[in-house]
């Protein structure tokens, strides 16, 4: 019984991680090229979104650090 549990933990979970990694790689390859038309407006919106998220994550990190 213990042997079976150990086998499951070592091989089962190991396989799961390996498969997930392969799956993520496959998805990354599949969606490597964005299909949306990258007009100036779209590029500007995505840039703004990145800046917004960076600032927000910065604020969250600050809050987390000051809480500790």
């Amino acid at each position: 019984m213990i042997k079976k549990i150990r086998e499951f933990l070592v091989f089962g979970i190991g396989n799961l991680f390996r498969n997930t990694r392969q799956e993520v790689r496959r998805i990354n390859n599949r969606y490597r090229v964005p299909h949306a038309k990258m007009t100036k407006g779209v590029k500007f919106s995505l840039l703004m979104l990145r800046i917004y998220l960076l600032v927000l994550i910065g604020i969250l990190c600050y809050k987390f650090i000051t809480l500790l």
Binding site: N28, V33, P34, K37, S45, L53, I59
Partner: protein, 424 residues
């Protein structure tokens, strides 16, 4: 054609339209009623108890906000036949795709925990222990999907949507002043003392409960799973509008209940607390509020867990439809059950940081909402993909105004939640 023949013709046309609507209705109505989830009912209850009827007018403004945002998901889903997660991956590449998917999964799971908190709190009022609530709720939610039919799931969901209407009789039971309610709903104004930080916080909270990231993902995936086509878009829009109308009406009725009986009497912090306080004044109204809170949590939970499973299925390429049996779509159902079981278990852990989770939901949702809304607008403007269903100039003007306002207000709401004294 004589008068009676004309009348019969009109009647047949109308009956046919109703029949088509009833066949296609579903995603819009369900997502909108599920929008009034446990968190939403808490927000409305506390708003009513704190400000009475004074902020009723603001809820009317939220009707077009909810409709215009969700209507875009109907068009996008019906035209592209892709859920929102897959649409983001396809249009913006894997970086934005992973960001949206992982953020959605985290937000959904945390929101699911808050739905379980709401459901257990509601049934605790009737003496049902949380562990029994979670087991029964999880079993019902599993039974809803086990048949492998979207229609069955939708019909059961509609039943729970109907229970959401309990706030209407509850409002009549407390005998509100109809004149006051109508005046406060139609005439915009602020309570005595004018605009304050507290009012601002509550206005933001009400907006926050109106549009949540999971709603965008859920409705688009549901439209695809239901198999809606471009010709069905008009019915999908009507469905969404009727849903928006009901969601606002229910919010108004909740505020009327707590505003009539609790305004100026007692401080409350949650819907469950409001239900218990109401029971001491009007037992029937308090009972209906508690039943409604449970139902709101349940509706929210079934939609949120599905939104995550659909998103995972779309991106990983798993079979992901409620029309498939468990053995045909094992990963789709595995993620659905996994989310349910883990979220339910967290609520049962003694000393779990439930208040922190509730706070965290508001903040994490704000990291996803702007991205999901911006992507929605960009996708709806892609003529190659949307063809004649792309946003018109008027739709863009309305939608961009709404999206920018939501982003600003929800960000301020998150900042207020993180730093309560920031604007004082």
């Amino acid at each position: 054609m004589n008068f009676w023949a004309k009348l019969f013709y009109v009647y047949r046309k109308f009956a046919k339209a109703i029949k088509i609507y009833l066949l296609i209705a579903g995603p819009g109505m369900i997502v909108m009623l599920a929008d009034n989830d446990a968190g939403g009912i808490t927000t409305y209850s506390v708003t009513g108890a704190k400000f009475g009827y004074n902020l009723l007018w603001f809820l009317l403004l939220l009707l077009p906000v909810a409709y215009f945002v969700q209507e875009m998901t109907v068009r996008l889903g019906a035209v592209t036949k892709r859920g929102h997660a897959e649409a983001i991956f396809h249009a913006f590449g894997s970086f934005w795709g992973w960001f949206s998917l992982l953020d959605l999964i985290l937000t959904d799971w945390l929101t699911l925990v808050t739905e379980f908190i709401g459901m257990t709190a509601a049934l605790s009022i009737f003496g049902i222990p949380p562990v029994i609530t979670i087991i029964i709720v999880s079993m019902i939610m599993m039974l809803m999907v086990i048949k492998g039919s979207y229609w069955t799931w939708e019909k059961i969901a509609f039943l729970f949507c109907a229970v959401n209407l309990v706030y209407i009789p509850a409002a009549f039971m407390v005998h509100p002043s109809v004149g006051d309610v109508l005046y406060n709903t139609v005439i915009p104004h602020f309570p005595k003392g004018g605009f304050s930080n507290e009012i601002f916080f509550f206005l933001m909270a009400n907006i926050g409960t109106t549009i949540a990231p999971w709603m965008i993902f859920f409705q688009q995936s549901a439209v695809v799973d239901k198999g809606m086509l471009e010709k069905d878009i008009i019915w999908g829009k009507i469905d969404t509008f009727i849903g928006s109308f009901f969601t606002v009406m229910i919010a108004i009725f909740v505020i009327v209940v707590t505003g009539t009986l609790l305004y100026g009497r007692t401080e409350i912090a949650s819907a469950a607390q409001a239900a218990m306080a109401l029971m001491n004044i009007n037992h029937s109204a308090g009972t209906l509020l508690a039943i409604g809170l449970f139902d709101a949590g349940f509706l929210g939970a079934i939609c949120i867990s599905l939104a995550s499973s659909w998103a995972f299925g779309e991106v990983f390429g798993w079979a992901h439809s409620l029309n498939l049996k468990i053995r045909e779509a094992p990963w789709f159902y595995a993620t659905y059950f996994f989310a349910l079981i883990t979220a339910g278990t967290v609520v049962l852990i003694p000393g779990a940081p439930l208040v922190l989770i509730t706070l965290f939901v508001q903040v994490i949702a704000v990291t996803l909402l702007p991205a999901a809304l911006v992507f929605l607008i960009i996708l709806l403007n892609d003529e190659e993909v949307m063809g004649k269903y792309k946003n018109t100039v008027t739709q863009n003007a309305i939608n961009i105004t709404i999206v920018v306002s939501i982003i600003i207000l929800s960000t301020l709401y998150a900042l207020t939640a993180l730093f309560p004294n920031i604007f004082s």
